[in-house]
């Protein structure tokens, strides 16, 4: 017990730093994923046929292959082609592209469930197709997609764990360094597991709050 407290004392500062890195990567990647997923999702539904196909290919590529390989390819592979990204940039880009593919699919589902009638009504008062998408369809779809998006945010928090493989000292990376420094992998990974549980739990509660705030009677499901 005493030695565990000792260990905890030793590893806590580094792990907390790791938490900071993890949160940063998750947040940036999630936002980047949104910036990608939004237009891609809209393009998948309302774009011309050729664009729909191209976007589907992007989604298949990123959903159909492991994140780890995407990360290695971006970080270690792209320099072969002359593009050398910094480790953080590589992490953001890979996780962002990956998340973008998923977010686009969630958005597509939401867009499709808004209903044809909303589009027709918007066109009937003289809106153009894109204005209708922007001011009628998207505001509803974005609310509908929120639960799926919350899941994605939580998944992202966990998926960031792969960046330790490109020597980014996130929570997982710190765990790996510490466990070989103190030769105590089991307790250290247990502590790290608790960290993730707390992070995920807090994120979950936060996003529930957001869902409640954006709740519109009759549009989004009851949030209780």
């Amino acid at each position: 017990m005493e030695s565990f407290v000792q260990l905890l004392n030793n590893v806590l500062p580094s792990l907390l730093q790791g938490v900071g890195v993890t949160l940063q990567i998750a947040a940036v990647s999630l936002l980047l994923g949104m910036a990608i997923g939004l237009p891609v999702g809209v393009g998948r539904v309302y774009g011309p046929r050729w664009l729909q196909r191209a976007l589907a290919a992007y989604i298949t590529l990123f959903q159909g292959t492991p994140l780890l390989i995407q990360l290695f390819l971006v970080y270690y592979g792209l320099p072969d082609l002359g593009l050398t990204l910094g480790r953080m940039e590589a992490a953001f880009l890979t996780l962002g592209l990956n998340s973008g593919a998923y977010q686009a699919e969630y958005l597509r589902g939401a867009l499709q469930s808004v209903g044809e009638g909303q589009m027709t009504a918007a066109r009937a008062i003289g809106m153009s197709k894109w204005l209708a998408v922007r001011s009628i369809i998207l505001p509803q779809a974005l609310r509908l997609v929120l639960p799926a998006w919350s899941n994605e945010a939580i998944a992202m928090l966990k998926y960031t764990a792969v960046v330790f493989l490109i020597a980014v000292p996130d929570l997982m990376g710190q765990a790996k360094i510490l466990s070989s420094r103190y030769f105590a992998p089991i307790p250290i990974y247990m502590i790290v597991a608790v960290f993730y549980i707390v992070l995920v739990g807090a994120t979950y509660l936060l996003l529930r709050q957001l869902e409640r705030k954006l709740h519109i009677p009759g549009l989004t499901g009851e949030t209780h």
């Binding site: 009504a121 066109r123 003289g126 009677p217």
Partner: protein, 254 residues
């Protein structure tokens, strides 16, 4: 039915098919300003399709349509602009679910008519007053009754300052008790001189308000005339049978 003024709408021989289904097979129809035309016909006869052709939501395959002397089926016409002049109200309301009653009326004003927030708000409140819903302005669609929803939909269309209005079975999704409040608003509109084409099987409304009843079947106009003519002495046997049937339903339904 002949007046000296120019017709507000002239439809000439339009055709519309969906794949193998020939829905409209040569429809012609002329509407004068301030007329209220009630369109009746069996299910699938193409009534909704005709309305959607008129405001170009689904443009006709052939044939021509003039709105206030402008040929709107001509190439180069911006359909968005045309639709601003033609209000449309649907059977299932299609209110924007994420906006309050007020928001539903305002959004077209700010986004399409480019009004300022303030102007839009005031006009929207005016239109809501017209349909008797000022006290429901801040309710979301899910918090409104069917009749209230339909009245908001009417206010939304009126907000665009349309030159004519199309109604596609505006009361058929409503409980009988809620139908009355919507018909009343429409009657009021007619009194104010709004030109209207109404698909409806509410025969009481047709008798009292319609200047003309048009009976469609199989993608063509079978017969048209004043309500009295159509209800009392229709030329065609089919018209008689159909109108008798819906008159029966109408009384049975109450």
């Amino acid at each position: 039915m002949s007046t000296a003024t120019a017709p507000i709408l002239r439809i000439e021989n339009i055709y519309k098919s969906f794949g193998e289904t020939h829905v409209l097979t040569g429809i012609s129809l002329t509407v004068q300003p301030q007329e209220v035309v009630v369109l009746v016909g069996p299910s699938g006869s193409g009534k909704s399709t005709l309305l959607r052709c008129i405001n170009l939501l689904s443009p006709p395959d052939s044939g021509r349509i003039w709105l206030e002397e402008q040929e709107i089926t001509a190439p180069g016409v911006n359909p968005d602009k045309v639709r601003q002049r033609i209000g449309m109200v649907f059977q299932d309301f299609n209110l924007f679910n994420h906006l309050t009653a007020l928001g539903n009326v305002m959004i077209g004003l700010t986004k399409v008519r480019k009004m300022s927030k303030k102007e839009a708000h005031d006009l929207a409140m005016f239109e809501l007053e017209r349909v008797g819903l000022v006290d429901r302005a801040h309710h979301y669609p899910a918090q409104l009754s069917g009749g209230q929803k339909q009245r908001v939909a009417i206010a939304r269309a009126l907000g665009m300052d349309p030159h004519m209005m199309l109604f596609d079975e505006p009361t058929s999704a409503l409980d009988p008790e809620l139908t009355g409040e919507v018909l009343e608003v429409m009657q009021q509109l007619a009194r104010e001189g709004m030109t209207m084409i109404v698909v409806s099987h509410e025969m009481g409304f047709a008798r009292q308000v319609a200047s003309r009843v048009v009976f469609m079947e199989g993608g063509v106009v079978v017969e048209e005339g004043t309500p009295t003519q159509m209800f009392e002495q229709p030329v065609h046997e089919r018209t008689r049978v159909f109108l008798r049937k819906i008159a029966d339903m109408d009384s049975g339904g109450r």
